[in-house]
């Protein structure tokens, strides 16, 4: 059961803050870098991050704003690459870095579930099997046939969470998604996440500022401060 599923090895990420966006700006930057080789405009968003997660772990990442939480999740979900270090993983990763990512406003709820599932690399059959479960969990009723641009933000969020949580992969990444939605639905989400990790052995990585969520949900915790683990 406790097989290592994610191994983050010495990950660092550097951002170059002095990017200008014009040819003359780039030239003057290049000249000044020759004149003053000591000046270093680089910003290290993450430095030497190491951790291991086993199957069924629920990791909580916390830290102040700008501590590097989102950068870490972006690297884990392959949105951007680390400047140095390696990550070994097993199985698919689903990331919900923002609610309702990839929903197309003109398409209706069901069409968007298929589109979203496809972006997670699933096949039509995989999604069809889970469709009823998703619609049921999202409590959308007849609105599944309405274009999602007409949805309230709560409905949008419920559909997005239901899609991600039902079309689950081995590793699930969630960036403060629990902050949205009403109390009822939040409790339902937490119960669902527990079920996923306990019954299905899914590994969950979560960013949350809410202490209550953290305690009730997670068995491991990483605290980031200025890009370093403390």
């Amino acid at each position: 059961m406790s097989e290592t599923i994610l191994h983050v090895e010495d990950i660092s990420k550097r951002y170059n803050l002095s990017r200008s966006g014009s040819i003359s700006g780039d030239l003057s930057k290049w000249i000044s870098s020759i004149k003053y080789p000591k000046s270093n405009p680089d910003f290290w968003a993450l430095q030497n991050i190491n951790f291991k997660l086993n199957q069924g772990d629920r990791l909580c990442v916390t830290g102040d704003n700008g501590a590097g939480k989102s950068t870490l999740l972006k690297i884990l979900s392959k949105i951007t690459i680390p400047t140095s270090g390696k990550i070994y993983g097993k199985g698919k990763i689903t990331s919900m870095l923002e609610v309702g990512t990839g929903f197309h406003p003109e398409l209706n709820g069901i069409e968007n579930v298929f589109l979203n599932g496809a972006m997670l690399g699933m096949t039509k059959r995989d999604i069809q099997i889970k469709l009823d479960e998703i619609i049921d969990f999202a409590q959308l009723g007849d609105h599944v046939n309405t274009p999602v641009k007409r949805y309230s933000s709560g409905m949008y969020m419920r559909l997005a969470f239901a899609t991600a949580a039902t079309l689950h992969s081995e590793i699930m990444i969630m960036d403060e998604v629990l902050a949205v939605g009403d109390q009822n639905f939040r409790e339902k989400c937490i119960a669902k996440l527990h079920e996923l990790s306990n019954n299905f052995g899914k590994t969950i990585i979560l960013v949350s500022h809410d202490k209550a969520n953290r305690i009730s949900l997670c068995n491991k915790e990483i605290i980031l401060s200025k890009g370093k683990m403390i």
């Binding site: 990017r19 014009s22 979900s77 949105i79 993983g89 990763i93 990512t101 990839g102 398409l107």
Partner: protein, 279 residues
Amino acid sequence: MIKPMWLIRPKEPLISFRITELKQYRYLISQLIYRDLIASYKQTLLGPAWLIIHPLITTVIFSIVFGSIIKISTDGLPQPVFYLSGIICWNYFSECLLRTSTVFKDNANIFGKVYFPRIIVPLSLSISMFFRLVIHVLLLITIMLIVPHQPYQISVMRIITIVPLVITLIAMLGVGLGLIFACLTIKFKDLNFVIIFSLQLTMYTTTVIFPLSSAPKNMAPFILANPITGLIEAFRYALFNTGGLDVISSAYCISSAIVLFSIGYIVFNRMERTYIDFI
């Protein structure tokens, strides 16, 4: 259950084909094609009719301006047939190029949140453009049947051997250039205007509105320097047995398509991993 192993590292090999990874996402390809074809016509006045209206109006205007007023030769073909066959090729090229060049910009929202091989988007765009092309070809056939003309010298053999190759090369040129510009526009956003502007002007230097045979002999190499010219000529040759292309020009078209597409593919693969840090 099989759990594929993966590794994230700062550097990847320069050329990677990732066929197995693309195969895994084939349902996404079909979904993106569907989304592009269906969703773009929701809440519109005429819907998919625009597909036909646009080339039709262009053909009419060209026939009036270039055919009746300026009286440019059309190689013995009826004017609408001549212009439409050129417009079809040019539109496929320019749409592939334009849509691909804005891939990063149009999908910044999705690319910033979900991972999948980014090349899937230009790939599915060129396929959905291909469906539009098929409809345009059907329109061309309809016009050939309506407009009176002595029987066309149609050879099925010639069409089967040349047309698929020509279409593939046009797509490779459009997508290849589009991929290169997609990477450049991340850094320099005003390049997008340059693309739109130069596409409009370049069309008049290709054989959309005149046959190669009526161009001055000393200008021909300059006109043929744009590989689309050669491909339009080959397309018309396949369909109507007019014009035609020598071996050197054909080899030039084929090799430029392969080179530009390869450059675009390599540059795009490198850029897709870090581009989100740049915008």
